[in-house]
Structure formats: C-alpha cells, structure tokens
Symmetry: D3
Subunit: 188 residues, 6 copies
C-alpha cells in the first residue's frame, strides 16, 4: 500500500516527474516488500509564492540531468573518438581508473595508454544502474561486453566489462573500469 | 525544499525507517538539486484498521533485510570458508560469473575453480552501493581490493575488484565479479 | 487511483472504521469508475488536543450504530412478537405505512391490523441496502420474501416484499412497506 | 470535524465534484454523528504526470453518469411510451420484476403484460435514493404514487409504488417494482 | 522541522500569501524554539468547486488588508491634516484615548484638543507590531518619537510615544496613545 | 474554511498544543476574514524516527514558555519587591526604558530612580497581547492602570500605563514603559 507524496516547487517536466516517480517507488521497494503496483506516488507542485522556508519564498532549481543519460552520451562520444565532445561531460578533478594503468585525468592520456593495447573497442550494454549516493555524487554503473581489434588487427568480442561513474552537478568526476581483457589475453 | 510524506502500515522498526528516510531522500536528490538538509521526509504509520484498499483492511508485510547487509554477511562467510553459512544466503537459480570461468551455480564449483588460482583471498572494501532495480531484484555493488596468497605461497595485495549482486526476496540470486587478477599476473 | 484521507478525532473502533472505509470507497465509486482495488482509504485519527476549530479543542462523538443492524434487530424482535423490545428501536414520531392501511404509529395498531390478515409472517432476506440521505435520516432498504400462514391456517411463502426505514440518531422514525400479498390473494 | 481529502486525477467537472463532495460527506455521516456543516471535503486534482502507480503514470477515467438521472430519464421515456429511447438505457442481461408477473427482459413484454391491467400509468415521485452497492452495481430507489386509468377508462391515483434499479457501467441491468395496485383493486 | 500546510480557497495574491506565510511561521515560533529556516509553510489553494462544507461549495472571501498598512495610511493622513482621508479609515464606534484627555470619537475633537498643546507634531517610527487578537480585532502597535513645535513656536523632538490600534473588518475602531509629552514639559 | 495542518515532532503537551492552535488560527485570521469557527487546526505529531531532514532523524526541542506568563510572573515579583525572583526572568543585555529616565539595566537602578517618585505602585491589567516578532524576540504588551501612593502618602489610581517586553529564549531582554504619571502630576 505504501503511498508517497512529494511536495516540490513547480517547474519540473513530465520526464523529470517520471524519473521522480520511479526513484521514489524503488526507494520504498528497497525496504518494503510491496509489488510495484501497490505503490502510489503523488507529486504536489507549488508555485514559489505558495511555499516559504524561514518566512521567505523560494524558487525551485532546474532538475539534474539523468546521470545514466550523461554516461551514455559520454561513452558514445568516446567510442566515436570525439574527445572534444566527451571532454564537455567531465567535471573538475576528473580521474579515470583502468586495469593496469595509473590514475589518469586527461582523455588524451587514456588514448595514448590504450593505443598499444587495442586498435579500437566498442561496448555492448547489458544494463545501466543509476542511483544517488549518500554523498554528493550520483552513481552510474554500466556493464556488458567489449568488442574490437587488437593492435595486430585480429578481432575480439564478448569480453566482460563494468564501468562505475561518479557524477556531481551534472558532470562526470570519476570513472572506474574493470574488464576481462587481461584474462582473455592470458588465455589466448 | 522537497518534502516527502510516506504513508505505510505500522510495523517497521527504527532501523527500517532510517533506511526508508535515506532511500527516499536520495531518490529525490537523483532529480532535484537540493542539499540533503533541504529535504524532509515524514513517515506516517497506520494501524491496519485505518487503511483499506478495495474496501478491505490490509496487513503490512515485514521489511526486507538490507541487501548490503546480506551481501556483507555472505562475503564474510565465504572468506571464513563457511560454505554452509554462505549457502543460506543464496536463492533458487543462483549463478556466479567470475573472470575466465564459465557460469557456476554451486559454491563448491567456485572453490574447486579457485584452488589452482590462489590459496586464499581477502577483500578490503572501499564502498558498497545498494539500490532497488526497476525489476524485482535489489542490486548491491561492492568494490575494493584483494589480498591473499598465490598457490606458490607468495603474497599479493592491492588488486582491484568489483562485485555485483542481485538479491530477490532476501536471497542472492546472482553474483558477477570483475577484478585485475589476470592483469596483475600478466605483468608479474 | 483515488485516494481518500479521512481525518477524525480518535475514539472509533475497528468495526466503525471498517464501515467508514467501505462507505467512503463506495462514495467514490458512485462517480469514479475505478475498481474497488484501486481505491485506497486512510483514516488519520487525532487526540482531541491535536484538533481545534474556532481556537477550541473538540471532543469526538460516539459513532452511530449501523442502521442496517438496527433494522435487523427490530425486525427480529417483531418476528418474535417481542413488541417491548421492538418498541425500544423506535424514535419519537415513528410512523408505519403498510399496503392498504392508514398510517400507524404504535406497534399494537399494526398487530391489531394484521390479525385478520395472517396468523404470522416470516421474512427471508435477499438484501439490505443502507445509506445516509442528504437530510438527517439514514435509510435502510430490505427486501426478500414472506412466508407464513393465512388466518385459515394454510401456508404461504415466496411473496415479494420491500421495506424502507428512516433512522435518525439511532432510532427508527419511519417504516414503509410494500409487498405482493394482495396480488397473491387476488390470484388465489 | 471530520475532514475528507480526495486525491483524484484531474478531469472531473464541477457537477461531478459536487456529487463526490455530497457522497463523501454522507458516507462520513453514516457513521459519525456530525452535523453536515462540520464535515469538510477537499478534492485534490492531479495531472496524470504527477501520479504513478507501479512506476507508471495513469490516465483518469471519465466519470460515471449520475445513476438517479439515468433512472429518471428511463422512466420519463417509458411514460412517454418511447421504448426506443428507453431501450438505450438498458444493459445486457436486463430483467424486470413486477408484482404478479414472471421476470421479463424486453420492454415489449412489459407493455403486453400491462395492457390488460391499465390504459396508462403516471408516476409522481416522493423521492429518489441512490447509492453504490458493495458490488459492481449502483442502486437507485424511487417511490411515490401512481395515477392513470384502468382498462375501463376510470381513473385512479394515489397508489403507492417503489422501484429498485441496479445500474452497472451506466446501464440499467435490473428493475424491481412493488406497488399497491392489487391491494387497491381488491378493495375496490 | 515544523511544517505548516494551509488549505485555502484560491483567490489570494502573492502579497497576501507572503503575509500568511510570515504569520504562520511566527505563530509556530511563539511556541516551538525552531530557527525560522527550519520552518516550512505550504499553501494549498483550491478552486471553490473542489471544496465543500456541509455538502455545499463555498466561495473564498477577499483578504483583509494589512492592518499595519491601514494604520500607516491613517497616521500619514492625520500628519498631513487630511482629516477627510483619515476619517475614511475609521469604523463605527471609533474612540480615541489620549493622555489627559477624555475619550474622543471625532477627529475634530482631537484637533481642537491638541491646538493649545502643540502647533504640529510628526512621528518617527521605531517599529510596528501587528497581530490578530483572540477577539474580532486585529491589533497594531506603533512606537517611536515625536517632533514638532510647541504653541510658542519652539521646537521639540525625541519624545517617546506608543500607539495601540484596534482594527475590525478593515476599519480602525479604537486608538490608544501614550507619550512622554507631559514628562518632557514638566522637566522643561 | 481554512484548514491548517501542523507537522511537529512529538513531545508537546496539551497546553502547548492549545497555544499552537490559537496562534495558528489567529495567524490565518490576520489575512483571511473567516470566522474562528470556520478555521480548523490539526496537529500531526511524529516520533523522531519518523522524521528526517538531511537523511538524519531529528529530536524535538522543548516548547518555549508562554511569554505572557513570563511577563506576568516578572511583574508580580516586582510588585512584591522580590527583586531576586524578578532578576531570574531577565536575560543578558536587559534594558529598561521608563518615561523621563535614562536607559537602566539593573533592577536596583529602577528602584533607586522610583523612590523619590512614588512610595509604591500597583498595576491593574486591562489586557495582555503576545506575539512573535519577525526577529528572534517574542513581544508582550500589557496595559491597564496604576494605583499607589505618592511620596507624601497621598493615594493615586487610574493612571494609564502600557509596557512592552521583548523576550528571547525565555528571558526578558527589554522593557519599555509609558504612562500618564507626569500628565497626572502636571494637572494635580
């Protein structure tokens, strides 16, 4: 039965309300073993003049972009080797953590590091999981399999991978990558 | 400002309400860029007789256990080689997916598979992330580093890993593991 | 989806809350074509000190008895010829309206009037319908069939009847009766 | 003091909201002995995007017509001998139950049955009572007196009657009729 | 944390809502030692058709003018010797109570009484305090210092004063005045 | 019709809730011209575990004492010349402002200043008005008439006075006094 009522300042669009309804439903389901169909969410919107905290009206802030969409767009730009576009998704202090590599902070470092390792790589996605951490970052996990070509031109595919992203204020601030490339190579 | 009101049947304890408050706060923060201190959650509890759906009173269901705790307890049992205890955390259809291994479904398979690979392994955790998926499973990600001994008795540590768990109705139904063991071995 | 929240002073028992949940659900269904399972009712109870109208706390009033139960008990007493008990269910200004009889106000009038018409009569009920009118009276309709004996001792049964009752402040103030006795007799 | 809050999807008109307010007020009065003036109803309307059940937005359904109006219109058409119009108010499986008649399902049957009984009949109404049953049907009771002409052309009036109607999804599915015609005839 | 929700019929403007938010916040602060920033007010507005008391819709009444503004405007008119304007702020039964004067009810009485006492007087305000009394009157206190000229043309200033006003239905019905004029004169 | 709902952490007593109901009702009446009987207040109390701001439960703070009671008790102690008791009601930075006196901060200063002015003075109260200011202080106004004896032993009475108090965190921090003593003396 759980019923969730959310009171927010008006200004959120249908897509943002959909994300709120889903996230609030799933938040309840993490603790209460109710079927999704038994969980109701109502969003009550208010014009700023109908809301006050500390005796003062407050204006609503624009919604945060969907962090999973941010990650998808970033990965798409990287796969297309559009580092200029990809760079636009990165926040201050961005770091990357790849298997067998020191932490890197610039996309060019990554490209240089990857060159002796594979000609190119493509990701097929099995799933994206997004959540807000208890801290300031939203988290996005995406996993699936890699395909591409080794430096010698032979093809590979079906190599398991998982990426973890931290997104703060709409910018990616950290990427952690795990995959089975070494495992596959060692058994090649 | 967002204010969340949750109406539930009574019967949840302080710890369960804490988890609900946190999950609901974080659900809002995934979309609305409000500081946590600006997000209020109120839980309204009702005795069963004060709630009806379809003209009938309903009884509340016991809370689901914290999926992160389930995973912690399972991993602790595995590390202590208490497979009997660990087995108790597993649900029907459980499968494990390790780097370089075929899918396994029984813990003994895992132990047999690991024996030629390392004498033992311990996990140091950097973080746990838990969320409800849009499907029936709760998800737990845990990551950190592995230490242990290779079959020849030499020690290793600092090997990055990440595990992904699916938990349904309080039981682990799937474990996916990625780590840098092959990477480390290949550069040894 | 409709959700009904009722705020009342505390003091109502589970049975009274059940009646409230049912009546509120059905009130919604009279206008909104929702399945009962899609209609939720929540009752929020308050101690008197948590409620004020006109700056003053208010005490809750005891619930009204279920008018259908009042009618059932009254009819049971009449059938058992316990006019003393039946009289206790009647309010000031009570009147009865039977087919072919002038309005009557005392139970003894009814008994005298019925004596030449049948030795006794029993009611089998097909259904009770109770509602609050827009005025001060609750209404109860009951319908079914009559069985009994004519003055000459021959039996009858299966004669359709319907009664309409008005109940104010827990007392029956009016009874209207329709049945097919004359129809049956005329075709006998 | 009782206060009723109804949350519904937007799309109901002023007349439909008036019916909801009245029905909810009367639902409370059936149990709580509060003066109508002490009962407040608030309707909170929501656009579909602000409401989710099972993680999905839901659209509101058009209101059900007022069942008392359906009955009034049907009876008006019957009195005007507009059987084509009257037929439009009847649902599948419609049956009629009149004194001394077998159950009938077609209006022509009723007309044929009535012909030897009276030339015409008109209804004067004393009151309509409408409610939602606990099942799928709305119920309408109407009562008053009949006037008309017997087959021999003599007039009659003041004959008590009561009708009971069941309405499902806006269509009449059952009509039960009781009256004092036989009583009056037997004493004529 | 306190959260205040106000349900009112629609029709109040932003300025009136601001006054409501402030007054409600301060009402809570009179009892609960919360920082203003921890007190949230939400105003839920309803069209008349969404609200019923006693089964009937109700129309909202226009807001009362800010009583402090009424007093400011009245005092401004008096200082400008616009008694015609000032008179428009006064309600039936208005009385004035000045130090050493009998109660007066007409502005001309005040002017006549003041003439031998000072040529003119101006008010500098230190503060206005407005509240609703438990009775029908709103109360406004204003205090500060008087400057002006004595009848002999010598100037004075810095004389403390306080006025208390009762306002009913937007009209001033009573003015009480205290000041240090006599004290200052006695020590002159 | 206005309806006020207050959500607070549990822990307030009946007297404190009464003060909240009154203050909230009067806050609405300052803007909305509704009869008190048309204004409803509901207080919803929550255990700390059912409330979170910033993901954390919060404990409620004890209620502030009624500022009018604080002032009454202080004035009673002063009249009884219990300066030790009166001192206990005063906060840091307390100042007094009397007609014709420089600001004073210690009660003994007041006593010394008053000695040549009157032997004793008693207050008869016409009314107390209390409110929360927009700042941190609660305000109490009390007014009425003074009686007592002049230094020469002759009695006086009926001298108008008004006091204004500022109370912060339960302590009086400022007292302003106006009265007609000089006026009365000057006309004696």
């Amino acid at each position: 039965m759980p019923i969730v009522e959310l009171h927010v300042l008006q200004g959120y669009g249908p897509e943002e309300k959909r994300r709120l309804c889903e996230a609030l439903t799933d938040a309840v389901r993490l603790v209460v073993p109710a079927a999704p169909e038994a969980i109701t969410v109502m969003i009550h919107e208010m014009p700023p003049e109908n809301y006050a905290r500390g005796r003062r009206s407050r204006a609503g802030a624009p919604a945060l972009a969907d962090p999973a969409e941010i990650v998808r767009d970033y990965l798409r730009a990287m796969e297309a080797r559009r580092t200029d576009v990809a760079q636009g998704f990165l926040g201050d202090g961005f770091t990357m953590h790849f298997p067998g590599a020191p932490p890197m902070s610039r996309l060019q470092e990554l490209i240089d590091w990857a060159r002796p390792r594979y000609r190119f790589v493509k990701k097929s996605y099995e799933g994206f999981d997004a959540m807000q951490s208890s801290g300031s970052a939203a988290l996005v996990y995406c996993r699936g399999s890699l395909s591409g070509e080794w430096p010698d031109g032979t093809a590979f595919d079906g190599i398991r991978f998982i990426d973890r992203f931290e997104i703060e204020a709409g910018k990616i601030t950290r990427q952690d990558v795990w995959n089975d490339i070494a495992e596959v190579k060692s058994t090649a």
